[in-house]
Symmetry: C2
Subunit: 246 residues, 2 copies
Amino acid sequence: MHIEVIPVEGLPLIHQGDDLAEMICRLVAFEDGDILCLASSVYSKAHGHTRLLDEIVPSVDAERIALKTHEDPRFVQAVLDDTTDVILEEPFILSETVTGHVGVRAGLDHSNVEDGMVVRLPPDPMNAAAGLRDALGAVSGKDVRVIITDTCGRSFRRGQAGVAIGWSGMTAIRDFRGDHDLFGHTLEITEEAVVDEVAGFSNFVMGESNNGIPAVVFRNCPQWAGHDDLHFRRDEDIIREALSKN
Amino acid sequence: MHIEVIPVEGLPLIHQGDDLAEMICRLVAFEDGDILCLASSVYSKAHGHTRLLDEIVPSVDAERIALKTHEDPRFVQAVLDDTTDVILEEPFILSETVTGHVGVRAGLDHSNVEDGMVVRLPPDPMNAAAGLRDALGAVSGKDVRVIITDTCGRSFRRGQAGVAIGWSGMTAIRDFRGDHDLFGHTLEITEEAVVDEVAGFSNFVMGESNNGIPAVVFRNCPQWAGHDDLHFRRDEDIIREALSKN
């Protein structure tokens, strides 16, 4: 069966209070089982997860780091406010957020927002995805699954790629443990980060820049079984351990 | 425009000497601009990029590392033979290959091959992609673009995801540098690893395990402009530098 990937075209600029489910359902005739990928920045703007630089007073720590990263100390303070663990301070702040997600500048974004405004990641992205899923179901009458996406850099490889930060109606990981390959071997690769693979392709379809396509629908995707344990625990993360010794 | 993602179903087990372009074109009616993603393991089997464990004599180094990784020293030797730089020896070998790609066990794979056989990554994956592209064009009469895929682990996030190791007819990176966002700001995220985002979703469609779908076609993908500099140089790779100090 062919999978269809449908950019949601025609969404206006999103402002706080906008009803995303209503607006998206006006543009998409959903079918049961569809996956909607939505850029986290758009979710956050609709739900007011933004801050004004003018209202932020930087701490001594923020001032100190800002000297190294050449950023506005108020922006650095906003990053620290959303950070539970700083992994790197420079050349950019790499930090863990409350959900276990590790990202550059705690996922805070200056792009595509009004001057002086910073867009945070949704503070509870799993609930964000579940809430949007419920709303899409209520408006469309269909069972629509949801992934909230962000973009991240990677180790060893240049360039950003889309990742999932919240999801609902699916598991993050497809778990092959115990499965056998075509020759009956137990599989070596046993856990696949399916939500990130879907989010990554949605990011390609969204484009960055001024395309203005923050939502993408996936139709006819196969189902999978697995679990939601997408983030390494600190004590099992070799790379994080190495960075912490630096 | 909807993007279609089409699993290539019905490919038999691949053996050395098989004509992949001929076999795939029998199953797909290609259109100009299609992207074919092909699992590197299948490419390598068709082209004989495999080794028999019985024919490998492990070095002292391979014996030493195998004690730590609990692997067959002959398999470790095969990994070292395809490695230009060992980044980690344990808990698994993480190494760079001749192309600059960094992967676990240099991308060598035990899965889905006959007992005692190890499948290497294609030693020149860019030429592999270009050659397959030419062959698909000759058989189908269409301009088909190609990505050769593998799966990799990630930092901070559990689970494997598909990545591109060779590509032809496109650039690896979509380059937004100098672009402006919807509000006229210069974009902060300027380079997107598009080939990895496409390869990742193809890996989701392929599945692992015994699905036996090693090829996926993407139709109606937008074009992009950028460059092929997908791998960080050692001196610009913060995480690699940290690992090397461990």
